[in-house]
C-alpha cells in the first residue's frame, strides 16, 4: 500500500471532502461541542419562518374591516383603536396562530408517517387516519348530536382506531410502505361509505354541519384552539425532534439501522404514537384539513436537499402552507369565506398529480 514517491496523504484532504455535502463542522470548547451545520437547511427554515410571520401579519390586517399594517403590531399588543384590538386579538390573531400550529403539527406528523412507511404517499391523509377521524367526528355529530369537545374527541378516537387497524392489517415483518398505502386507501373507502350512509340518514342541518366539519376549516377558531394545538406541539414536538436522527437512520433499512446501534422498535413505537397524537390534535382543532401532511414533508425535503426526512423543515413548511392557504381561503372569493380545507385540497391535489407524474417518469411508481 505504501508508495514512496507519493507525498503522504493527510486524512480529510485526500480525494474529496469527507464532511457531508453542503455542511460544515462547528466545533467549540475544544471539541467538547461539535455540530454539523447545513447552511441551506438553515436558510430554508429561516425563510419559511419569515414567510409564516409575514403572512400572519397580513392576514391579521386584511379583511372586510381592514386594519392598516402599521397599526397591526400595536393592536397585537393591545394598543390602538378598540375595534382594531377587538378584531386582531379576538378574531384574526388566534385564527392565524391556530393555522400555523395545525400546519406545523400536520407537517411534522406527515414527515414521520412518510419516513416510517418509506413512501411519499404514506401520510395520514392516505393511510386512513384522516378518514377515520372524519368518520369518528361525523358519528358523534349525527348519532349523538354532541358539541364541539365531543366532536374533537370522536375525531381523535376514530383516527387512532383506524390507524391501529390499518397498521395491524399492513404489518408483516415490519411495516411495508406500499402495503400500508394500499390498505389505507381501502379502509378509507370503506369509512367513506359509512359516512355517506350516516349522512343520508341525518337531518339536513346536522348533515350540513357534518359536511362543513369534514372539509376542515379555521373559521371562528379562538384562543382555546390556539392553546390546544400549541400545547400539544410544545409537549410532543421535542419528543419527535429527539428521535429525528434515528428516524433518518431507519430509512436505510431495518437491519442497517440496527447494525448502527438504533433501537428500531422503540423508535418506531415512540414516533408512531406521538405523530398519531399530533395528527389527532390537529384534526380535533381544525377538522381533517387535507394534503398538508402529504405535501409539506416532500416540499421541505426537496428545498433543503437533505436526502432524508427533515422534521423541522416539514413543520415549518406545513405552518407556512396552511397559513397561506387560510389567507387565500378568506380573501379569494371575499366576502364569501371558503373553508381552508378547500384551498389545501386544490394545492395538494395539484401537488399529488405532479408527484405521481415525476415518480412515473422516474419509473418508481
Amino acid at each position: 500500500m505504501s508508495d514512496t514517491l507519493a507525498p503522504p496523504r493527510r486524512p480529510g484532504t485526500s480525494g474529496g471532502r469527507t464532511t457531508p455535502r453542503g455542511s460544515f463542522a462547528l466545533r467549540l470548547f475544544g471539541e467538547r461541542l461539535s455540530l454539523l451545520v447545513r447552511p441551506r437547511t438553515l436558510v430554508v427554515c429561516l425563510a419559511l419562518t419569515l414567510l409564516s410571520a409575514l403572512v400572519l401579519v397580513v392576514s391579521v390586517s386584511v379583511g372586510d374591516y381592514a386594519i392598516p399594517l402599521r397599526a397591526v403590531p400595536g393592536a397585537i399588543a393591545g394598543y390602538g383603536e378598540r375595534l382594531d384590538v377587538f378584531f386582531v386579538q379576538g378574531v384574526r390573531l388566534p385564527r392565524a396562530l391556530t393555522a400555523i400550529g395545525v400546519g406545523a403539527a400536520l407537517g411534522i406528523a406527515g414527515a414521520v408517517f412518510q419516513s416510517l412507511s418509506r413512501n411519499a404517499l404514506g401520510s395520514p391523509d392516505i393511510i386512513g387516519f384522516t378518514s377515520g377521524a372524519a368518520t369518528g367526528a361525523v358519528t358523534v355529530i349525527l348519532v349523538f348530536g354532541a358539541g364541539r369537545v365531543a366532536v374533537s374527541l370522536g375525531a381523535i378516537a376514530g383516527g387512532l382506531l383506524t390507524a391501529a387497524v390499518v397498521y395491524l392489517l399492513a404489518m408483516k415483518n415490519g411495516v411495508q410502505g406500499y402495503r400500508l398505502v394500499l390498505v389505507g386507501i381501502g379502509v378509507s373507502a370503506m369509512l367513506g361509505s359509512v359516512r355517506d350512509y350516516l349522512l343520508t340518514r341525518a337531518e339536513l342541518t346536522d348533515a350540513m354541519g357534518a359536511q362543513i366539519w369534514m372539509i376542515g376549516s379555521l373559521n371562528g377558531r379562538g384562543w382555546g384552539e390556539v392553546a390546544a394545538v400549541w400545547v400539544c406541539l410544545a409537549l410532543l414536538g421535542p419528543v419527535l425532534l429527539a428521535q429525528g436522527k434515528r428516524l433518518r437512520f431507519m430509512e436505510l433499512g431495518e437491519d442497517t439501522a440496527r447494525g448502527l446501534g438504533v433501537s428500531t422498535q422503540a423508535t418506531q413505537l415512540t414516533v408512531l404514537a406521538v405523530a398519531s397524537a399530533l395528527t389527532g390534535a390537529a384534526i380535533a382543532v381544525a377538522g381533517p384539513i387535507g394534503f398538508i401532511a402529504l405535501a409539506a414533508p416532500q416540499l421541505a425535503r426537496r428545498l433543503t436537499r437533505t436526502g432524508g426526512t427533515t422534521l423541522v423543515g416539514s413543520a415549518l413548511m406545513g405552518a407556512a402552507l396552511l397559513v397561506v392557504a387560510d389567507l387565500v381561503a378568506q380573501r379569494a372569493l371575499a366576502p364569501v369565506q371558503l373553508p381552508a380545507g378547500v384551498v389545501t385540497a386544490v394545492i395538494g391535489g395539484s401537488y399529488l398529480i405532479w408527484l405521481l407524474y415525476t415518480e412515473w417518469r422516474g419509473g418508481r411508481a
Binding site: G16, R248, L252, G253, V262, G307
Partner: protein, 271 residues
C-alpha cells in the same frame, strides 16, 4: 456447556433457536467465531446464513438461547455499545434518494456520536480513512444514486468500516460485483483481517472464494452447522455433495493450494 475455546471467543452463541414468528429456521445451534479469524459461512440458498448473522449482530433476537459478545449476553448491552464493538453489512440496504457518498459513510459514526458531539475531527478522519481504504475517496461528492452496483457496495462497506469495530459481519459482500471487483472486495477483507486485526465473518456464495480466504469455514444446511474448521480439512467431495446435492471433484488450487471445487460434468456421465 461453555468450553475453554468459547470463553476465549469474543462472539459466540449457544443453544440458539432462531425463528421468524412461528417459523423456526435453526434449532439448538452452537456457533463460535474464533478471535482474529476470517470466518466464512457457506451453504445453499435459504439455509439460514443471513438469519445466523442477524442473530450474531443482535438484529434478530433468538427465540431461545443467547449470543455472547465480549463475555456478556449481547441483548444486555445498550444498542450503541454493540455497534461500537460489532459492525454489520446486511444483505440489502436502502440509500435514501439523493444522499451523498460522504453523508452515507458518515452515518457509520453514529454509535460514537452524542447530543453534543455530532461531528468531531476524529469522525472526519475516520470517514476519510474508511473511504480511502475502500477506494471511494474520489466519489465522496457524488450521489449514491449515480453509482454502479460495485461502487455502491463499497460505499456501504465504508460506512461499516467507519464504525471502527473490531468485529465485522458481512452478508454477501460480493454479490452484484463482477469477478475483478469480487476479488478486490475479498482482498480488502483479507487485508482488514491480516493487517488491521479485524475479526471477520462473511457469508459468501462462491465455495472457491471461501476456501481461498477463510481461516475458519462454517458449512450450513437447513439451519444447522454440518461442518466447520480449516477449509483444507473440512471441504471434501462428500460434504459438498451432501450439502449442495452436487457431485464435485476437489482439486488443488494452483494459486493458493487451497481446495478448489470443480463440479462433475453430469452431461458426460449421461452420455
Amino acid at each position: 456447556m461453555t468450553t475453554p475455546a468459547d470463553a476465549a471467543s469474543r462472539l459466540h452463541g449457544r443453544d440458539l433457536t432462531l425463528a421468524y414468528d412461528q417459523r423456526v429456521i435453526s434449532q439448538d445451534l452452537a456457533v463460535t467465531v474464533p478471535d482474529n479469524s476470517f470466518t466464512v459461512i457457506v451453504g445453499p440458498n435459504a439455509c439460514g446464513k443471513s438469519t445466523l448473522l442477524r442473530a450474531l449482530s443482535r438484529t434478530l433476537r433468538p427465540a431461545r438461547g443467547h449470543v455472547h459478545l465480549d463475555g456478556r449476553v449481547i441483548g444486555s448491552y445498550p444498542a450503541k455499545e454493540v455497534a461500537r464493538r460489532l459492525g454489520l453489512l446486511p444483505q440489502s440496504s436502502i440509500a435514501p434518494d439523493g444522499i451523498g457518498v460522504a453523508d452515507l459513510v458518515a452515518r457509520g459514526r453514529f454509535p460514537h456520536q452524542g447530543f453534543l458531539r455530532q461531528w468531531s475531527k476524529q469522525d472526519e478522519a475516520v470517514v476519510a480513512e474508511a473511504m480511502e481504504a475502500t477506494g471511494i475517496a474520489d466519489l465522496s461528492e457524488r450521489s449514491v444514486d449515480e453509482l454502479s452496483g460495485g461502487q455502491r457496495q463499497r460505499v456501504w462497506l465504508a460506512m461499516v468500516l467507519a464504525q471502527q469495530t473490531p468485529l465485522l459481519l458481512l452478508d454477501e459482500p460480493t454479490t452484484y460485483l463482477d469477478i475483478a471487483h469480487q476479488m478486490d472486495m475479498l482482498d480488502l477483507c483479507a487485508e482488514l483481517h491480516a493487517e488491521r486485526g479485524h475479526t471477520l465473518v462473511a457469508v459468501l456464495h462462491d465455495l472457491n472464494h471461501a476456501c481461498r480466504y477463510a481461516t475458519h469455514l462454517i458449512v450450513m444446511k437447513e439451519g444447522a452447522i454440518v461442518a466447520e474448521g480449516d477449509p483444507a480439512t473440512v471441504v471434501t467431495a462428500e460434504l459438498v455433495e451432501e450439502v449442495f446435492g452436487l457431485p464435485v471433484r476437489i482439486i488443488d488450487d494452483p494459486e493458493t493450494h487451497t481446495p478448489m471445487i470443480v463440479p462433475v460434468d453430469r452431461r458426460a456421465a449421461a452420455r
